[in-house]
Symmetry: C2
Subunit: 319 residues, 2 copies
């Protein structure tokens, strides 16, 4: 008997990452295509179908060899109604029945999931959270998101909107967030927030190497680079971001008492500069029994976390 195969798609605003894998998560083929998010749902659906064809071709297999397809994307996915309520990176997707439409296009069963939820499951089962059943996955990149693994499974809340850590209010009088509200974690600790704070410092004439290093493109990685050279402004900007991210994690520890918090995303990947102060903040500020029973770990699966989680989800759904 042939091994069960699944296709999994991580649908982003700029790329579509697709894999073909067996039920254990072993990847047979992978493809990364640019996504035409700006062209709207129809074009993106077609691209996803093409991406599945691409990985099948690469593995010299046919659609009949695939049991089901998983797709994860950033956005508020209504788990009850099975529609995308809204997505920051995918204009025109509000109200789109992702599963139904992709399914009729591919002629295969499709399962859709929020990307942070999928990545959380991937890291919990196959990555940094392996062996743990209570896992919080936090992704820090241009935005901040989270996925909750409770009793070993994705926790979606009543409708599918759980895990919005990026909009936890950590600084009530803080800067306005992209969501329109004030003081959200994302508005003070995301890559976008780090870059913005650095720009403000540069514009105010602070003495920093960032000014030249940045050359108009003052990004979070540039701030990390400057900080590693001891630049005081960069260090101060990062310290502020890490402080509030730490507050957010303290709140997560106090509410969930997770066994492990897995930190992923581009900003966190920058490394120990970010991770080690977070452990100290949790130890100092979370309630002691919960603080002493949580481990903070760096994500292990990188950009594969989402598709890995979708494979796990498909495998457990199909039995």
């Amino acid at each position: 008997m042939k091994n069960k195969l699944y296709a999994a798609i991580d649908l982003g605003g700029t790329k579509i990452y697709t894999v073909l894998a067996d039920s254990q998560g072993a990847i047979l083929a992978a493809a990364r295509l640019p996504s035409a998010a700006a062209l709207g749902p129809d074009a993106v659906m077609q691209q996803m179908a093409v991406s599945v064809g691409t990985v099948l071709d690469e593995a010299q297999l046919n659609r009949e060899d695939v049991l089901a397809v998983g797709v994860c994307a950033a956005g508020f996915f209504d788990w009850q109604e099975k529609v995308m309520v809204s997505s920051p990176n995918l204009p025109g997707f509000s109200g789109v029945a992702l599963e139904k439409r992709l399914s009729s296009l591919l002629g295969l069963k499709v399962l859709a999931e929020n990307d942070a939820n999928a990545a959380a499951l991937g890291e919990a089962r196959l990555g940094a959270g392996r062996g743990c059943s209570e896992v919080v996955y936090v992704t820090v990149s241009t935005g901040i998101g989270a996925g909750l693994i409770i009793n070993g499974r994705i926790y979606r809340g009543g409708r599918g909107f759980a895990g919005e850590l990026g909009h936890m209010v950590v600084k009530p009088d803080g800067p306005v967030c992209g969501c329109g509200r004030r003081g959200c974690l994302e508005a003070v600790s995301s890559g976008t927030a780090i870059a913005r704070a650095a720009k403000e410092a540069v514009n105010q004439g602070a003495a920093t190497i960032l000014k030249t290093a940045a050359d108009g493109q003052l990004t979070a990685p540039a701030v990390f680079a400057a900080a590693s050279q001891g630049d005081a402004v960069a260090l101060s900007v990062l310290q502020h971001a890490v402080h509030y991210l730490g507050m957010g994690l303290v709140n997560v520890v106090n509410m969930f008492n997770p066994e492990v918090i897995v930190i992923g995303g581009g900003v966190a990947e920058a490394g120990e500069t970010f991770l080690s102060p977070l452990s100290e903040i949790i130890a100092a500020r979370a309630v002691p029994p919960a603080a002493s029973s949580v481990a903070l770990k760096k994500a292990q699966l990188g950009v594969k976390a989402g598709v890995a989680g979708m494979i796990c989800l498909l495998a457990e759904t199909d039995g």
Copy 2:
């Protein structure tokens, strides 16, 4: 065949509330005894045993009619090790194996649980959260606690310490909390915090009726009473407390996407003054899809919530 009966004890710092009930939660007998918490675990264990005897006598039944006993208490209860790690109201209980000791005293199976968790289950199954599987119960009294019901069951986290909403950091530069840390929700929104803020205002000579109304005993209920008479200082103190409680609930909504948040505890019982602005804050500040799918409800079971939850827990544990 006789109906299965359970005893449930809510062990507080000043009283022991004990009921005898059937597996549906119907109460056959109840007793409220003062607790000798200051005398330590041995004395309290004896009192709990006496309280079980009292409800049995009242119902004219014997210990043999009881299948098991549940006990809930405030504190960090380590669910894995089955010991009380620490309790604010029960001095000397650190490291006490509550279940084992009460069980050997009573000759009955004993199940122990954190009191907010028990109350959460009680309200979710038999109170304001009836019919919902994703419920957050928040108790606002001298302190602030929470219990999480996820997929219809108590969520304890990795070790049993989940739900510490009282120590969510909502005002990083705020007052020092009883836990020694700064800016916890409990330090700005609990009954204790409300009373302290009112005292500070009175001591600073603010124009308020609280000065006379209080007569040295400036409690949260006195602040509520003054506010209901339009006292500006009392209203301002309450507004501040409600604002930060609202921030805490916003964070809960964003992280859990619960179907319902049930608010209980002495302070919340004070009524609509507290509840209606909270709904407005959630609507204005939580992420829209989660905000629009949550209901905020007043607890229905009052002081019976904890024992009701323990009965539910015993019934589902025993099958």
